[in-house]
Amino acid sequence: MAATTEGTHQFRVIGTRPIRHDGVEKVTGAARYGADYSFPGMLYGRVLRSPHAHANIKSIKTDKALKLAGVKAVVTGADLPELPDRIEQGGELPINLHHLSCNILARGKAMYDGHAIAAVAATSPHIAEEALRLIEVEYEVLPPVMTVEDAMAPGAPILLSSLRNKEDGPDKQTNVAAHIQFKRGDVKEGFAKADYVIERSFKSAMVHQGYIEPHNAVGIYNSDGHATIYCSTQGTFVVRSLSAAVLGIPEGKIRVVPAEIGGGFGGKTTIYLEPLSVLLSQKTGHPVKLTMNRAEVLRATGPTSGGTIRCKMGATKDGKIVAAEAWMAYEAGGFPGSPVPMAAMCILAPYDIPNILVDAYDVVVNRPKTAAYRAPGATNAAFASETIVNELASAS
């Protein structure tokens, strides 16, 4: 494992390999991850999820579930305050609070298979699971829109009726949440100068961060209005501010305690169960622990975008890339916010090219709302640009 150094300062400890301070707890099973926490009187929560990719929710009836012995509370989107449709900084990517709240518990519409519809708290996880089956939801199933091509096609079913983008203006309903463009020089002139031009279309599939630890949260609401959340997260302060916003309580009334975390890779920089744990604790007067199972993690957290990239590069005989163009459409999932802006900035970044044009589109589809995944947006982009560069290098 050689390291090349460039005349750096001589350090005494920096650059050495001591055994990590939390190592013994981790190898003896003593370290406490979010799901390892337990409190007296604690209840277990579970989330009911949409089996449909795209559906209007006509009604939700919870009375049968509430009657099951051991069930202490059932909540739906109606139990959360309505939030304005505006952008905030949340974790690594900007976020719209209204959409965030809708992702935590659906309001009137299921946007993907696995979308959270309701949550219950009960005296055992098994009873909570049984209670989910007793919640009656009436769906009006709509045709699913699963790919960026389908979503961008003229006449495509509109997923979010209030979604608009700057380019098309306030009167045009659309599935395109944003169009970002970067330009330098003149690509037409650049390509005219090129001796070799390669143009290809690339597709990449939606993938998940794949952390081994599913999401978790234990919420404890005190009667004085203060709440504590124990959870595995990459950002305790993000959990605090976003949970406070979703619940409609002041940020200073929430304390977030970081449990050890079993992997994140960007997927645990937002919230899913945290506000629900506090909400259910508030309704029941007990601590409430929520965990996801693996199917929920894959269906209903934040994988990263698949999408389509069309990339064209031109080089002269002596090997200099003189022009490059990219058209990129990334899946945002059920709500806007794919990493396509970063992808657009990355796709040509390793190279010194005088003429470039990048057009990038953030597209809503009936898949889970995407979240960051280790260098969000860059990997699919590099797949496209680096294979073309490789081809160009062999051609010239």
């Binding site: 494992m1 090349t4 460039e6 750096t8 400890v13 920096i14 650059g15 050495t16 390999r17 001591p18 990590r20 301070h21 939390d22 089996p51 449909h52 990719a53 974790g91 690594e92 993907y112 298979d113 696995g114 330098r184 290809r200 279309s201 690339f202 599939a205 939606m206 993938v207 998940h208 794949g210 990459q234 950002g235 305790t236 302060f237 993000v238 605090r240 304390r255 977030v256 970081p258 975390i261 693996r294 199917a295 894959l298 994988p303 900035m345 990355c346 970044a349 390793p350 010194d352 280790r374 260098a375 860059a378 990997t379 590099a382 797949f383 640009s385 680096e386 294979t387 490789n390 081809e391």
Partner: protein, 359 residues
């Protein structure tokens, strides 16, 4: 000649400052892997370079000096991959302590000042900077106390490797451990503190080289060898820097070869389990070789760059380039699962047969 270097304008911003992109490519070229010959049928080698930003943003840190001369360092950066050890290392470096005499803690949102997420490859750089400054703040306070005891001005007190002394003679040098019992009478306990909104030190580059073997009958791609070279600026704990490089490379390989969401016609996810959402197992992989390149980041006291992310960026392209060298097909769809690779091979063979027949 096409590689970005200092002064190249970025796609969306100011020109690059000092970066190690070319150095990572050179590191691959000089590696044992690259220098080795790859022989055998249906085998190929591919390389790619990835770019990713490193954010700075806000972090808070406190360094408490204990009554026995040891210390604790408290931050708000959740530890996902061993970062708290790095915080202890930085604190120990500044205070001249043994790394095991510094206890690192990750605190809750009431106990530590605002800290941005552990992500964006920012923890060692930004929280490390806050820790460095908090430790320096503790040193400043230690010097003031020694000065008080020695009846000198703080500027006359020196601190080297955990020992306080004075340029002007007449005082016996004193370790932190020796000073600590006198803190109470010189003003009270010492807590160093710092909050930063760190400037980004500049982006991260990694280059990856993979050797593959493609089974022409099934389309299965086996990774024979993989090497990742990444510019870490200055690796605070090299084992955990290597760990980030290896982990990212393997995630990139999974992304390249097998991972994808399968939705049916109704939009229902059909592979919502870890059997069919196929991530790499240790049986799918060789050892992952790493080369840590160190081109120090300007403007950071340690010179560290963020390392957590960029290693995931090159592998899918490197694998695609390797497949092209192995069996002559250009893959344009991810993942390059056996079915897709086989289809591409058959398509190429079909085209070859067709053109041979046409001749």
């Amino acid at each position: 000649m096409n590689g970005a270097h200092e002064g190249t304008p970025q796609t969306a911003g100011p020109p690059y400052k000092r970066i190690g992109m070319k150095e990572t490519v050179e590191a691959i070229k000089n590696s044992a892997h690259y220098k080795s010959k790859l022989t055998g049928k249906n085998r190929g080698r591919g390389m790619a370079t990835g770019f990713w930003f490193n954010i700075g943003f806000q972090s808070s840190a406190m360094v408490n000096i204990h009554n026995d001369g040891t210390a604790s360092v408290v931050t708000g950066s959740v530890d996902i991959g061993g970062s708290r050890a790095s915080m202890a290392i930085i604190t120990a470096e500044v205070l001249g302590l043994d790394v095991n005499d510094v206890r690192p803690l990750v605190a809750d949102t009431d106990s530590i000042g605002y800290t941005d997420v552990t992500g964006g490859s920012r923890t060692t750089v930004a929280t490390g900077l806050a820790v460095y400054e908090a430790a320096q703040d503790a040193v400043r306070q230690l010097k003031e106390r020694a000065a008080k005891l020695w009846e000198k001005k703080p500027e006359e007190v020196e601190f080297n490797n955990g020992v306080l002394s004075s340029k002007n003679n007449g005082v016996k040098p004193m370790s932190i451990k020796e000073l600590v019992p006198r803190l109470g009478r010189t003003g009270g306990p010492i807590t160093g503190r710092a909050t930063v909104n760190a400037r980004a030190v500049g982006p991260a580059f990694a280059s990856t080289c993979v050797d593959v073997e493609v089974d022409p009958e099934t389309g299965k791609v086996t990774i024979l060898r993989a090497t990742c070279a990444q510019d870490a600026g200055k690796a605070v704990h090299p084992s955990y820097v290597e760990g980030q490089m290896q982990g990212g490379t393997v995630q990139g390989i999974g992304w390249a070869l097998n991972e994808e969401y399968f939705y049916d016609a109704k939009g229902v996810l059909r592979n919502s389990g870890l059997l069919d959402y196929r991530m790499p197992t240790c049986l799918d992989l060789p050892m992952i070789e790493t080369v840590i390149v160190e081109v120090p980041a300007p403007g950071h006291p340690i010179g560290s760059r963020g390392v957590g992310e960029v290693s995931i960026v090159p592998p899918p392209a490197a694998v695609a380039n390797a497949i092209a060298n192995a069996v002559g097909v250009r893959m344009t769809e991810l993942p390059m699962s056996p079915g897709r690779v086989l289809k591409a091979i058959l398509h190429k063979e079909g085209a070859a047969v067709a053109s041979a027949a046409a001749d």
